[in-house]
């Protein structure tokens, strides 16, 4: 049992839609749209699955003519018949509708039998045509294949005399086609259809048939030709043209005419100094100009009896420099544009005709009647759609699809529900609900990434925050850009999914934090402290910094006397004291069992600062007296190389330790030599009468 054909009814009056539906829904599946934009959305969604559109003219947001223009833009108008239904009956409106490709007009009031018959007739007509198209396409493909085959064989015979490998003919065909395709994308000056291009490429194979009348001695001479020999050689273009002119048949065939042009004038030069007729500029047919260029390129890059092969880049350069004749500047632009892909293209087996080319050909030949999808394709499409919906519903992911024109976002049902959005949203960038979920800056960046992709590498991954139900969570977008198959490819939209990675992200952030910090005290560990220190010094090259290394005096005894748990508490306590004695940007770290590090920036009066810090650390913790020894090094004296700076502080610390602990001192250069000079303030810790040393 076949599926019902789908009909789209676009009319803003519910009443009218209802009446038409009443007349048609027994046999057809009816899809309704109440204004132009909904109609376009339905067209976007169903594409050529729609067999017919019943379109009103007067509708809000976008009227019937607007819809027709969009259909024209996308070439849907060629595939989907439109019957205009309207109370408008001015001949001006009717003509306008027909101009835009409308198939038929039904006036109000609707007569059930008339509507029914018209719809059936239109559908019948289009179905028959679809079947015919397939048939014709097959035939055309075969015919083209046959004719190029014949031409190739014959020209090979001709070239054989030159000792050519036969690849020459193939190369000329490929080059001609490449240049022509490039030319039409670059300018409107030479209006060529795909049919024309195909014909010129085929005819190009005959360009040197005149050589059949040139003696083998001249053709295969390994050295330079004498003037006389060259004059004889030059006659091959006129001779080839004469051969074609004398064909007793096919004189009016465009193939023959083109072949004649190419044969006779493929040695003309753009500046008029070519042969045989000295044509100048665009007096030379474009087909001959192109073949001339192809011929020169192939001659340069192939091995010949009289020369070796020249590499691709050099050949291109020579041509662009004007060393091999004068060409139309547009053609030189074409050469430059396709230059990169030339070597690849020539390598392929290009004796076959490409299916894309055939398709375009067929389209042009059967303009008004062709349809690009057969029934089987429609069925496949239907299956794909079912599969997609089914899997989307299983996966519990937010899957989406976005198209540029019209600007529309579609979500999977699960996704829509999850985000609290409708399944289809027109113009999502300006939709309030969408903006409340994702901030426009992030979406803007994602959009940029997608547009920067290429058809070969269309995938993008991107992470940002989404606000769902008022809660912000991290999400990862995994998506793929959709590129059209034109040249150059156009960005059409994207599809993909978003996955919630919030927990994962939090975990990573947490782990990163763990790695950089000491677990017991929560201070930075040495490795990460060093990183930050080096970075701070680099960012601020003129500033003054100080690095201090300190250790807890008699820590071992705390552990021995009171146990390791107590020792840990002491460390934690000291760490907290340290943290609160410095400012936000200063760096504090635990670099050893009972060793710490401070790094800070200062303007002046470093002594006062270090003094304050040092004293804030002293005190007792649960009756255990806390005493520190500290060595301070300044970048002004010790430099900004980290190992050197650290060592300087260390030296200073060592100096303190050697002379009794419980105080601090500043590094100076004399310490390096092992001399101990007390150049700082001598503070003896005396609160509880403990001895030093």
């Amino acid at each position: 049992m076949r599926n019902k054909q789908k009909i789209l009814i676009a009319d803003d009056s519910e009443m009218n839609r209802a009446i038409l539906t009443e007349m048609l829904d027994a046999e057809y599946e009816i899809i309704e749209a109440e204004d132009g934009t909904e109609a376009v959305a339905a067209l976007q969604k169903y594409g050529t699955e729609l067999s017919l559109v019943l379109l009103d003219i007067v509708m809000p947001k976008m009227d019937g003519f607007g819809v027709l223009m969009v259909m024209d833009q996308h070439r849907w108008i060629d595939d989907i018949p439109v019957i205009m239904i309207s109370a408008e009956n001015s001949s001006f409106q009717i003509e306008r509708a027909y101009d835009l490709g409308v198939t038929d007009f039904i006036n109000r009031p609707f007569d059930a039998r008339v509507v029914h018959r018209r719809v059936v007739n239109t559908l019948l007509l289009y179905t028959k045509q679809k079947r015919l198209i397939d048939l014709v396409t097959e035939q055309i493909y075969e015919k083209e294949k046959q004719s190029s085959l014949m031409v190739d064989i014959l020209s090979h015979i001709v070239e054989f005399r030159n000792g050519e490998s036969g690849l020459h003919v193939l190369h000329i065909r490929v080059l001609t086609e490449l240049f022509l395709k490039q030319l039409v994308t670059m300018t409107d000056q030479y209006p060529l259809t795909q049919t024309d291009i195909s014909m010129i490429s085929t005819a190009s194979a005959l360009h040197d048939i005149g050589k059949i009348s040139i003696s083998g001695k001249i053709l295969n001479k390994p050295g330079r030709l004498t003037e006389e020999e060259f004059a004889i050689m030059k006659t091959h273009s006129a001779i080839g043209a004469d051969i074609l002119r004398q064909l007793p048949f096919h004189q009016n065939s465009p193939h023959v005419k083109t072949a004649y042009e190419i044969c006779r004038w493929h040695h003309e030069r753009y500046d008029g100094r070519g042969y045989p007729d000295g044509l100048k500029g665009d007096e030379i047919p474009i087909s001959a100009q192109i073949v001339a260029l192809a011929d020169v390129y192939d001659a340069l890059t192939s091995e010949r009896v009289y020369k070796k092969a020249i590499p691709h880049e050099e050949a291109v350069r020579m041509i662009l420099d004007g060393q091999c004749g004068v060409f139309n500047p547009l053609l030189l632009e074409c050469l430059t544009a396709v230059s990169e892909s030339l070597p690849e293209e020539l390598k392929q087996d290009t004796a076959r005709m490409d299916p894309e080319g055939v398709k375009e050909l067929t389209e042009e030949l059967l303009r008004r009647h062709e349809i690009t999808s057969s029934e089987r394709t429609l069925q496949l499409l239907e299956h794909e759609r079912m599969k997609y919906s089914f899997f989307a519903s299983l996966s519990e992911e937010i899957q989406f699809e976005y198209t540029e024109v019209p600007s529309m976002l579609s979500l999977s049902s699960w996704g829509a529900e999850r985000l609290g959005l409708p399944e289809m949203i027109m113009d999502p960038m300006h939709d309030d609900q969408v903006c409340s979920i994702a901030d426009m800056e992030s979406i803007g960046r994602l959009s940029k990434l997608l547009r920067a992709t290429t058809p070969e590498q269309p995938n993008v991954q991107y992470e940002c925050k989404l606000s769902v139900g008022g809660i912000e969570r991290w999400a990862r977008f995994i998506c793929r850009a959709i590129w059209s198959s034109d040249m150059p490819p156009q960005y059409m939209g994207a599809f993909g999914k978003t996955v919630d990675i919030h927990e994962e992200r939090l975990r990573i952030e947490h782990l990163e934090h763990e790695v950089a910090h000491d677990t017991l005290t929560g201070l930075l560990n040495h490795k990460h402290a060093r990183k930050r220190i080096v970075s701070q010094m680099k960012d601020d090259p003129g500033a003054k910094f100080a690095l201090a290394v300190l250790d807890l005096d008699d820590f071992k005894s705390a552990n021995d006397t009171y146990g390791h748990m107590f020792g840990d508490e002491v460390l934690k306590h000291s760490a907290n004291q340290l943290k609160s004695s410095v400012r936000g940007n200063d760096i504090v770290a635990r670099i050893g069992g009972d060793e710490f590090l401070i790094f800070l920036k200062y303007e002046k009066n470093l002594e006062a600062i270090m003094d304050r810090i040092f004293h804030s650390l002293l005190g007792t913790y649960k009756a255990f007296p806390i005493s520190f020894s500290m060595g301070v090094a300044q970048t002004e004296i010790a430099g900004t190389d980290y190992p050197g700076l650290f060592q300087a502080a260390d030296h200073a610390l060592y100096t303190v330790k050697r002379s009794g602990s419980g105080r601090y001192c500043f590094y100076d250069t004399s310490m390096q030599e092992g001399n101990v000079t007390f150049s700082m303030i001598d503070k003896v810790y005396e609160e509880d009468g403990r001895d030093d040393g």
């Binding site: 009443m15 009218n16 009446i19 009443e22 009031p109 059930a112």
Partner: protein
């Protein structure tokens, strides 16, 4: 009990014509009753009040279309004239025509409602 044909007479419509086109009395009845739910008239009133003449035009045009389909000739005629008057924005005739459409709409709605109650179709 009022018949559908009598209802059509009351609202100035052409019952024979519509029956010819839609072929069954059941279908005609269905849509006549549906007419009461059509929002176009409400939209017309609102947009005239808001001086949104573009929407008023569309509303009048829609009413005209529906009336044509249902052969509500009287209302269809006045709404058609109103639509033309509003096609390019407000014109002096428009206001008077709005009143006429209003009257015709009332009569049409009343007739249908009468048909509805008498035939137990509410």
């Amino acid at each position: 009990m009022m018949s559908l044909e009598e209802c059509y007479d009351a609202l100035g419509g052409n019952y024979k014509a519509v029956l010819g086109r839609l072929s069954s009395e059941r279908i005609v009845k269905k849509f006549v009753l549906k007419f009461l739910n059509d929002q176009s008239y409400v939209l017309l009133e609102q947009s005239m009040q808001d001086k949104n003449y573009e929407e008023a035009f569309r509303a009048a045009h829609t009413i005209k279309g529906v009336c044509q389909n249902l052969s509500f000739d009287r209302l269809g005629d006045s709404s058609s004239r109103l639509a033309e008057a509003l096609r390019s924005g407000w014109t002096p005739e428009a206001d008077a025509l709005v009143d006429e459409v209003k009257r015709d709409y009332q009569e049409t709605a009343d007739a249908i409602r009468a048909f509805q109650t008498e035939n137990g179709e509410s």
